[in-house]
Subunit: 234 residues, 2 copies
């Protein structure tokens, strides 16, 4: 009786969200062979350095990461946060270098996938090819979705709502969120000042939309939160 390797796709709790979605049982081991040993990271570990040559995609197995883009000398921009099951590096395919640095926000685990091998494999596994395109498409959407939001209030509400939905999809709580990132990271990501995030969160609390203690957030009124977004987000 051979034990399934600890970090295989077939026993991963994210298999229905991640790349293996839709891939049949007979093909999934071909995908598993391609997945390099998982890498364990600790808080503030730098996993990818911006401008390094692109060869591998990453999938988050557990924990949380952030992507940070250095523009000019000092100015940096938090592109986004990555939850389990999400693929990192799709944006690097075209320029063939990573466009941002990747940093672990907490103790986390990543799976590595050689891109060339993955593409080759996907041309013989139709569901894998489809999922690769689906995930790219999804990334385009999520990046676009936040552009339309106007005020700081809408932006922050959208951000929290988006986090809650992503948590829920992963089988976690839709109302109890742990914020692994700092207020400054959130603010930077949303293009506002950290002080504004602080003030708005307090305001949301005052309206009984949510409750925050440090990094632990409870969404008390999901419908109210959705209203604050200016509606229509997924």
């Amino acid at each position: 009786m051979t034990s399934v390797p600890q970090h295989s796709c077939s026993n991963c709790s994210m298999r229905e969200i991640c790349l293996p979605m839709g891939v049949g049982k007979q093909d999934i081991d071909r995908l598993e062979n391609l997945v390099q040993n998982s890498k364990i990271h600790h808080q503030n570990d730098v996993v990818i350095r911006q401008d390094d040559a692109f060869h591998t995609l990453y999938a988050v197995k557990s924990g949380m990461y952030k992507s940070v883009k250095l523009n000019s000398d000092v100015e940096e921009y938090v592109v986004g946060f990555h939850l389990p099951g999400e693929i990192i590096g799709l944006d690097a395919i075209y320029p063939e270098v990573y466009t941002s640095s990747l940093i672990a926000l907490t103790n986390s685990v990543l799976c590595q996938l050689d891109y060339e091998q993955l593409v080759t494999l996907s041309s013989s596994i139709a569901p894998l090819q489809h999922q690769l395109m689906r995930l790219s498409s999804k990334e385009i959407n999520t990046t676009q979705a936040f552009q339309s939001t106007q005020t700081a209030e809408q932006k922050l509400a959208s951000f929290i709502h988006n986090l809650a939905i992503r948590n829920e999809v992963r089988g976690f709580s839709a109302t109890e969120l742990h914020l692994a990132m700092t207020r400054q990271d959130i603010a930077n990501h949303l293009g506002m000042a950290a002080e504004t995030v602080s003030r708005l969160l307090k305001q949301f609390q005052g309206r009984d939309v949510l409750d925050i203690k440090h990094r632990e957030m409870s969404i008390l009124d999901p419908a109210g939160l959705l209203l604050l977004t200016g509606c229509a987000h997924s």
Copy 2:
């Protein structure tokens, strides 16, 4: 001596930017067979309606289009503008419905591609598969690139600079631009008021960075424009 069909990929001036990039001579006719008859549109023609079922990707052959997303009842957001050689609809793959409406800004021509057929074909033509991924990746990048810009001045400068680069890549002028869209469209796209666009353009003129008469723009000082962006855009 058979004449090449008028709207084939092989004699299209955008073939080195569009999907055919890298596809060999022997395979390109297989791609051409998949391309439906080109569709001619006039200004303000609605080509795609938001929320319609997704089946086909589009490639711009000539002219210019805009993507518009309706959020709540009245509020609408201009997602972006599409130049010749660009693929439209990649963001619709995941949700399987178009996430925005597509409107012609001037007399324009589109090529239609059935997505299912394209994916099937791409699994037997490696360069096509690569290009499909590359174009998706590029789209993720361009959407991300503008998020980091802070002030209205930086946003507008980045927008103009981006337009100029895209024009240049297509073999058009890098300094003489025709703005097919209204100031309101630009403003909406960049998340600012039309009045602000107007004032900033005037300001850019005053600093001799560019010259504008109605919809015709001349970039007088490309380096100065780049400075205004806050640097680092492609």
